[in-house]
């Protein structure tokens, strides 16, 4: 049967087939399109048969890949034709040619509706099919009730009802509001009793979608699903035509088990038992057979059953059965099964604690990393990534690096990203981490984003022990003949900073360092030139007196670049040239970079944020989000992929030190760029307009830091009494939460940790300082003493917060009588899950805390924590960093949005203005960055007066919900110690609290005289950074 019913169409297809080349084909197509176009123009002469024929031809041409930009109207109008043949063509071709956004579709909504509610079953089917395939939101709103009616009608034939079920699914996906949950759960339960398996298959797809959005509403359907599975598993009364190679509809089985994965648990013991029986039967009874199709079908069912077992938290025995099966699968030759084995192992890691068992298969998994099939390699890579922890990180990362040598282009980016993340997360020591990243840059520099090397610089800067090592490594790489530019950047930076530490080694004198870096200068891009110039300045500084020749060489280069095309370079060259003539003062100006503040790794965040696009939410993801609701003892780190990303925080914490030069501070922006990843999930790669190290150099060059600092001290002393008078009670009640408070010698420690801390055991960290650090970031150490370390990790979502306390026993003996109590202030609802009485030796316990912010307040929750070690009872009271800014989310408003709001709030208690005196004198950019740190988005340009600053943010609490807050600061350039602060929001209470909160951060606190150190003091940084602070693998690793 090679000929269609339409001769003209067949002839045309034959003509196309007989074309010898593309050109001929195009000519033939163009001729035909011309013909159709003229025929459509004088439509009168067209018979229905001809119209039908032309429209099919159009579809054929379209399918060949040619643009068909006319005739849509004629096609769509066929839908309204009175006879079946034309109507059919109209419907089918329309749903191929147009998509849901096409305006022509709107014109036929009425016709389609008439067909759906009409009596003609064939028309109903055509209409349902088209709407099911390309129906958009508008169809959803106008047709959903009619489609629902057809689905539940007892007079419709199955052929209509199954189409109605899927058509409704489409409409529901376009607009979930069209299915009213209340009425539908009962109807759904009835529909699941359907005897016709075609209808049931369609209904089950609809059900999966409904239940994935709201499992709660469909509890009554759960037993029905179990019954369907039972019926199929026992092959009871399944018509022959619904078995596939002897297996009762594998698709319906899979769908049903998928639906069950959306119910959090199955409580009814009867249903649970029945279900486990079915699952057990599937797990045990699936054999490998010769017939490929039968094998695939039975394994489709088996893998779905595995997923369901994992979801249901089956008994240990059944779980280990699953792991054993997967272990078997990842070793088989059959590629599909091996692929699925690897994939399901990765999924299993997300839901259950099977890391140790899976580790036993590590060697096997690594073999798959070398499989010729990229699909398998990808799965192996994912699995290795998921199963990596401190114990196997070295081995796995080294495998990945080795693989990088041979990996094809398509995988290199993903590989290097994953290797970098693992190295950072689980590094057993920092020199290894540096090694890994340098190797990465060397082998796959194109795929190493700037984030990665910035991170190395941060770690090296913060770890003195690491500096000579890193510098020596960088020096080694420079000897290589071909070098990636990123390597030039990182090497130049490291050698500029720490090259002098190598001075006594061969080949590392300033002169030699300069020579080898200078070799690269002619071939690098502008951004690298900038770094190299800074490096030269540093080399110059370190070799001040002895080497006149070197000095001359460097100065010549500075001179040369003074007329460089790039302004940034010009400026650097000019400034460095001038500075270099300052003699001894140069050493102060170009001193070593200060330590970086701890910041969230952009990489890790990126990894957490990777998004997936699926029709229904992934059941596994839903489940992993529900997990860890009770305290549990874990011996390992939380799984890499298990944690839920905090959505409302920007990674980049602007540091005051970066913003000292006024003209520069505006350029610190992050521009997220979406780089499509070959395998799927888009990865957000953040590229900064200006690199972190560069800017720091910039700010170092400017000497004013020491000056304002000492000025500030002076003023602070003078204004001391004022400061107390100004903010009044606020300062005394709840200690100031800014970072700067940590420099106060007396500190407010006593206030928070209370007097009864006269324990024998003293904290080994500055608790006050830790608290302040955590006020501006979301993970870190809260408390530490010789026996225990308390870490904290927080996620904030609108007015909800989720805190996890990590209690790590540092001893080889258990800590007993562990107790934790939260004393929440009235504005917070805090729920603490149960705390185990004992922490085993060297173990870590996680205690999640759920927090709801009821309203704005500056009060702080206190954790009353105690334990006994040996005979010592230790009791501490720790403030929890649940402060106002955690519930703020910066928002950027345009002038058109801002001014109406600002005017609308012109009522006294909603908008409050105050002249604040005794303000710590800050340059405006620094104040802006202080605001950013508090989650107040500074909107440049909203206020035309350069001495003013306007900021916007959204505050979240249960009473206010999301509420816009607007802030304006007017400073007096003559007197920086006073300013006028205006705060406005829709809630007077919030306005007051926010105003006080900001005030607290603006008021200066008397601080100790800064020692006249050569290193300029960073006014807002905690001076000493404890060792754990620098640990790369999210510092929680240190808790073990």
């Amino acid at each position: 049967m090679a000929l269609s019913g339409m001769r003209g169409l067949s002839v045309f297809i034959s003509d196309i087939r007989n074309c010898h080349n593309k050109e001929q084909e195009r000519l033939r197509v163009d001729k035909e399109l011309g013909n159709i176009r003229t025929r459509f123009k004088n439509e009168k002469g067209l018979s229905p048969y001809e119209k039908k024929k032309y429209v099919w031809k159009m579809l054929y041409i379209y399918m060949l890949g040619y643009d068909v930009d006319f005739g849509h109207m004629e096609t769509v109008s066929l839908i309204s034709a009175p006879k079946y043949p034309e109507k059919q063509v109209g419907y089918i071709v329309t749903s191929c040619l147009l998509n849901e956004n096409n305006d022509f579709l709107r014109m036929v909504i009425n016709t389609v509706r008439n067909d759906i509610i009409g009596r003609n079953e064939t028309y109903q089917c055509l209409a349902l099919t088209m709407v099911g395939n390309i129906g958009g939101k508008e169809f959803s709103e106008s047709l959903a009730p009619d489609v629902q009616k057809l689905l539940i009608s007892s007079s419709c034939r199955p052929v209509v009802r199954k189409k109605a079920a899927l058509c409704l699914l489409r409409l529901y996906r376009k607009n979930p509001d069209v299915v009213n949950i209340d009425g539908w759960s009962d109807r759904m339960a009835q529909l699941l009793d359907e005897r016709d398996l075609g209808v049931l298959t369609s209904v089950m797809s609809l059900f999966v979608s409904l239940v994935s959005n709201n499992a709660e509403a469909y509890w009554n359907c759960l037993p029905k699903c179990v019954r369907i599975l039972e019926r199929m598993a026992r092959n009871q009364d399944i018509p022959q035509e619904y078995t596939y190679y002897g297996i009762p509809s594998p698709w319906l089985q899979v769908k049903t088990m998928r639906a069950l994965q959306y119910f959090p648990t199955i409580e009814d013991p009867g249903a649970r038992r029945a279900l486990f029986e079915v699952l057990q039967r599937i797990l045990m009874g699936t054999d490998v057979v010769k017939n490929v199709n039968k094998n695939n079908a039975s394994h489709a069912v088996l893998f779905e059953a595995l997923a369901l077992v994992m979801h249901l938290d089956a008994e240990k025995e059944m779980m280990s059965q699953c792991v054993a099966l997967l272990g078997k699968f990842i070793a088989v030759r059959e590629p599909n099964i091996r692929y699925l084995g690897l994939e399901n192992m990765s999924r299993m890691l997300l839901v259950t604690d099977v890391q140790d068992i899976i580790k036993r298969h590590q060697a096997q998994i690594i073999t798959s990393l070398k499989d010729p099939d990229i699909s398998i390699r990808r799965r192996a890579l994912d699995l290795l990534y998921g199963m990596c922890d401190v114990t196997n990180a070295k081995e796995i990362v080294e495998e990945l690096l080795q693989y990088l040598n041979t990996a094809e282009f398509a995988m290199r980016e993903e590989l290097s990203l994953k290797a970098a993340i693992l190295a950072e997360k689980f590094a057993p020591d920092l020199s290894w981490y540096v090694d890994v990243i340098l190797q990465l840059i060397d082998k796959a520099g194109d795929f190493v984003s700037d984030d990665i090397w910035y991170r190395v610089v941060q770690f090296v800067t913060n770890n003195e022990d690491l500096q000579p090592y890193a510098a020596a490594k960088a020096r080694e790489y420079l000897d290589k003949p071909a070098l990636h530019e990123t390597m030039v950047k990182v090497s130049a930076y490291l050698l500029g900073e720490y090259g002098h530490l190598l001075a006594r080694r061969p080949g590392c004198s300033p002169k030699e360092l300069f020579a080898i870096i200078n070799d690269k200068l002619p071939t690098v891009s502008t951004s690298t030139v900038a770094i190299i110039l800074s490096t030269y300045a540093k080399i110059l500084m370190h070799s001040q007196t002895p080497d006149v020749g070197l000095q001359q060489q460097i100065l010549t280069i500075f001179k040369k670049y003074e007329s460089y095309i790039d302004v940034e370079i010009q400026q650097r060259a000019v400034e460095y040239f001038e500075l270099s003539r300052k003699g001894a003062a140069l050493a102060d100006v170009l001193a070593e970079m200060p330590k970086f503040p701890e910041r969230e790794s952009a990489l890790l965040k990126k990894a957490e944020d990777a998004e997936v696009d699926t029709a229904e939410q992934s059941a596994i993801k839903l489940r992993s989000q529900q997990q860890t609701s009770t305290a549990l003892v874990v011996a390992d780190h939380p799984p890499v992929n298990g944690s839920v990303p905090a959505s409302n925080h920007l990674t980049l914490v602007k540091m005051p030190s970066q913003n000292i030069t006024e003209e520069n501070n505006v350029t610190h922006e992050e521009t997220p760029v979406e780089i499509p990843k070959e395998n799927g999930a888009p990865v957000e790669v953040v590229s900064k307009v200006e690199s972190i190290p560069e800017t720091n150099i910039e700010s170092k060059v400017e000497p004013p830091i020491s000056q304002p600092a000492s000025q500030a001290d002076l003023l602070a002393d003078l204004l001391g009494p004022l400061a107390i008078e100004g903010p009044s009670a606020a300062v005394e009640q709840s200690p100031v939460q800014g970072l700067e408070a940590s420099q106060s010698p007396v500190g407010d420690l006593a206030l928070a940790t209370l007097e009864d801390q006269s324990n024998a055991v003293q904290p080994t960290v500055n608790v006050e300082e830790k608290f302040h650090i955590l006020c501006s970031k979301d993970s870190g150490v809260l408390y530490e003493d010789p026996h225990i370390q308390i870490g904290l990790k927080a996620e904030w979502r609108a007015h909800h917060g989720r805190l996890v306390l990590f209690l790590g026993n540092k001893n080889t003996a258990p800590l007993v009588s562990v107790q934790a109590l939260i004393l929440p202030p009235s504005h917070l609802k805090v729920e603490l899950s149960s705390v185990p009485d004992t922490i085993p030796p060297r173990a870590q316990v996680q205690i999640p805390l759920e927090i709801v912010n009821l309203r704005a307040s500056r009060d702080v929750a206190v954790l009353d924590f105690s334990y006994t070690f040996g005979t010592a009872l230790v009791n501490v009271k720790l403030r929890l960093p649940v402060v106002l800014n955690k519930f703020l989310q910066p928002i950027t408003l345009s002038p058109e949005e801002f001014f109406p709001q600002w005017k609308a709030l012109n009522v006294q208690p909603l908008k409050v203005q105050e002249v604040v005196k005794g303000v710590k004198p800050l340059p405006l950019p620094e104040m802006a960055s202080l605001f950013m740190g508090l989650h107040l988005a500074v909107a440049p340009g909203l206020d035309t007066n350069p001495n003013n600053l306007v900021a916007c943010t959204t505050f979240f609490s249960e009473t206010t919900r999301a509420m816009l807050c607007l802030v304006r600061v007017e400073t007096d350039p003559q007197d920086r110690t006073q300013l006028r602060l205006t705060v406005a929001s829709g809630d007077q209470y919030l306005t007051f609290e926010l105003k006080e909160f900001i005030k607290e951060h603006l008021i200066d606190i008397p601080r100790v005289q800064a020692a006249p150190a050569p290193v300029p003091v960073q006014p807002q940084l905690p001076p000493a950074v404890p060792a754990t602070y620098n640990d790369p693998g999210a510092m929680l690793a240190g808790l073990l």
Binding site: M1, A2, S4, G5, I13, R17, W56, M63, L64, G65, Y84, P85, V89, I92, C96, N99, E100, T122, T129, G132, N133, L166, C167, L169, R173, L197, G198, S202, S205, E241, Y242, Y244, P250, W251, V254, N296, A297, A300, F303, E304, P335, N336, R338, Y339, L340, P372, D373, I374, S375, I376, D613, T614, A615, E616, S618, P676, E678, N679, G680, A681
Partner: protein, 142 residues
């Protein structure tokens, strides 16, 4: 859910393309080109699954024809793989021993069959008999 179904020959000529998600024409052409390139050179000993952008293509080769379905990464791969085979069996039954030429000259019939088999990106009917009978009914109406 199935995002789209493609039927392409080894040269990359599209014999059937059905999209269940709204794509612009240019995007469709790109997708067809990319999917063809993705599957055509894969070794027959490889898996039938390839990652494609944020989704996954499940494909199977019958003589010179590639049947590809793009599905969500969380979907059950083997179920869709057999779904392809069931579709081929239906075509085979309908055309009694189907070959590429049948699909070329009767492409409009193939669309009709597909609409009875898959709707809204989900499986609608898995009984071969039901679909063949339904096609018989429809042919009588023409």
């Amino acid at each position: 859910m199935i995002r789209f179904i493609l039927l392409q020959n080894r040269q990359g000529k599209t014999r059937l393309a059905k999209y269940y998600v709204p794509l612009e024409d240019s995007e469709k052409h790109k997708v067809e080109y990319e999917v063809h390139r993705l599957v055509v050179n894969r070794d027959p000993k490889f898996t039938n699954f390839v990652e494609f952008r944020t989704h996954k293509v499940i494909y199977r080769r019958y003589a010179g024809l590639f049947f590809s379905m793009c599905v969500d990464i969380t979907d059950n791969e083997l179920a869709y793989l057999e779904c392809i085979h069931l579709f081929v069996e239906i075509l085979d039954h309908f055309f009694s021993n189907v070959c590429e030429l049948d699909l070329v000259f009767n492409f409009h019939k193939v669309y009709l069959i597909l609409d009875e088999f898959i709707l809204a990106g989900e499986l609608q009917e898995t009984s071969k008999r039901a679909i063949i009978e339904r096609m018989g009914e429809l042919e009588k109406l023409e």
